[in-house]
Symmetry: C2
Subunit: 193 residues, 2 copies
DNA sequence: GCTCCTATCTTGACAGCGTCAACTCATCTG
DNA sequence: CAGATGAGTTGACGCTGTCAAGATAGGAGC
C-alpha cells in the first residue's frame, strides 16, 4: 500500500509531486514563472535537483502543473463571486471584479495561466483544455444574463477584464482605477439594453 | 572623429549598441524576450560574449532598450492610424485597431513593452517614461474625441484593446474575433452619447 | 613623432541552470 | 527469498550571466 500523506518520510513515499507544486506556487508569489528554477524548487522541497524528473517531464511540466492550479483558483474565484450575487447585473459586476482582483493579487500566477510557452491555446494540455472552456463559459454565461449575448460581446467583456487586470498588475493602473474603469465601461455598454 | 556607420570595421568603431539592438529585435520576432540570451545576441552581431557589457549595463539593459524601441513602434503605429482617419469616430476605430494589430503581429515585442521586470511602471527609465505618457495621451485624446472623456472611460478603452490584443496574441481569440469584439464594444459604449 | 589615456573588444574564469546517464535503495510481486 | 520496479541519489555535460584581467586602436598632450 502506498502511504498517501506527509512527504516527510525519509527516503521514499510521500507525495513529492504535490510538495513540489506547493513549493513552486509559493515561489510564484514573489517571482515570475520564468524566474523560478527547477533546482530551486527541488531545494525548497528538500530533495535532490533531479528528483522532480520522476514526477514531471520537464521544467515546463512543472510550470504547466502550477498554471493549471492557478487556472482552477481563478475559475473558482470568478464562479463563487458570480454565484453569490443576487441579480444578473450584480453577478456580472462581481465576476469581472473577481477576475481583475485575481490578476492584481496573484500577478505571476495570472500570467503563468496565459503564458503561451506554458499553455498553447491551440494545443492545450488535457487538463487545461476543459479549464479554459470553463472560464470562457462562466464569463459568457454571466454576460448573456444582462443582454451581452453575442460572442463578440462576451469576448469584449473577457478582453476588458483581462486588459484592465494586466495593466493593474503591471502597475500601469491602480487597482481602484482598474475596477472603476470596468464598472464604467459595463455601465456604458448596458446603457440601452 | 568617430565613424558613425557600418559596424563592420574589424576591431573598434561602428555602432555596436545599435547592431546588438537590431540583432535582439530580430530574435524577438521568433522568441520571447525571456528566451533570448545575451551571448546569442552577441554571436549574432559577431562579437565576443562580453562585448555587450560595454554598451549595456546588463542583459536587462539590452531588454530595456528593445522594449523602448518596441514602444516607439507601437506608438507610431497607433498615432499614424489615428491621424490618417477622417472623423473622431473613425480615429478611435483606427487607433484601437492598430493597437490590437500590433499585439498580434509582434507579440514578443508587445509583451516586452509591458513586462514589469523590464520596465517598472512605478519607476520607468528616463526614456521610457515619456513614451508611456505619449501612448496614454494618444489613447486618451482619441477617446475624448467621441465623448469618452473621463479617466475611467479612457482607461477602459486601453484595457479593452490591451486585453483583446493579448488574448489574440496568445491564441485564445482569433484576430478577427478580437477586432470584431473591439468594434462591438465601442459601438455599445457609444450607443447613447 | 612619441607617449599615455581611455574606450572598446578580447579571453578566461566562476557559479548556477536544465537535462541526460548511471547508481542506490525501499517496496511490491511472485 | 529473488527480482522487478518506482523513487530517490550523485555525477557530468553544455549553456548561461557576469566579474576580472589582458589586448588593441585611436585621440590628446608634449
Amino acid at each position: 500500500m502506498l502511504r498517501m500523506s506527509s512527504s516527510r518520510d525519509g527516503y521514499h513515499h510521500g507525495s513529492l509531486a504535490r510538495a513540489l507544486e506547493d513549493a513552486a506556487m509559493q515561489l510564484l508569489a514573489t517571482r515570475s514563472a520564468h524566474e523560478i528554477s527547477l533546482r530551486e524548487v527541488a531545494r525548497a522541497a528538500n530533495v535532490s535537483h533531479n528528483a522532480p524528473y520522476h514526477h514531471f517531464t520537464d521544467r515546463l511540466g512543472l510550470l504547466r502543473a502550477i498554471a493549471e492550479r492557478s487556472m482552477r483558483d481563478l475559475i473558482a474565484r470568478v464562479e463563487t463571486a458570480i454565484e453569490s450575487a443576487g441579480t444578473p447585473s450584480l453577478a456580472l459586476r462581481a465576476g469581472t471584479n473577481a477576475y481583475i482582483s485575481f490578476a492584481i493579487e496573484h500577478p505571476h500566477a495570472f500570467d503563468a495561466v496565459y503564458d503561451p510557452t506554458v499553455c498553447i491555446p491551440g494545443a492545450p494540455t488535457e487538463t487545461m483544455a476543459p479549464l479554459i472552456d470553463a472560464l470562457e463559459t462562466a464569463l459568457f454565461t454571466v454576460a448573456s444574463g444582462v443582454g451581452l449575448d453575442t460572442e463578440a460581446d462576451a469576448n469584449a467583456v473577457w478582453g476588458l477584464v483581462h486588459g484592465l487586470g494586466m495593466l493593474a498588475a503591471a502597475g500601469h493602473l491602480t487597482p481602484e482605477q482598474a475596477r472603476a474603469s470596468c464598472e464604467s465601461a459595463l455601465d456604458r455598454m448596458l446603457a440601452e439594453g
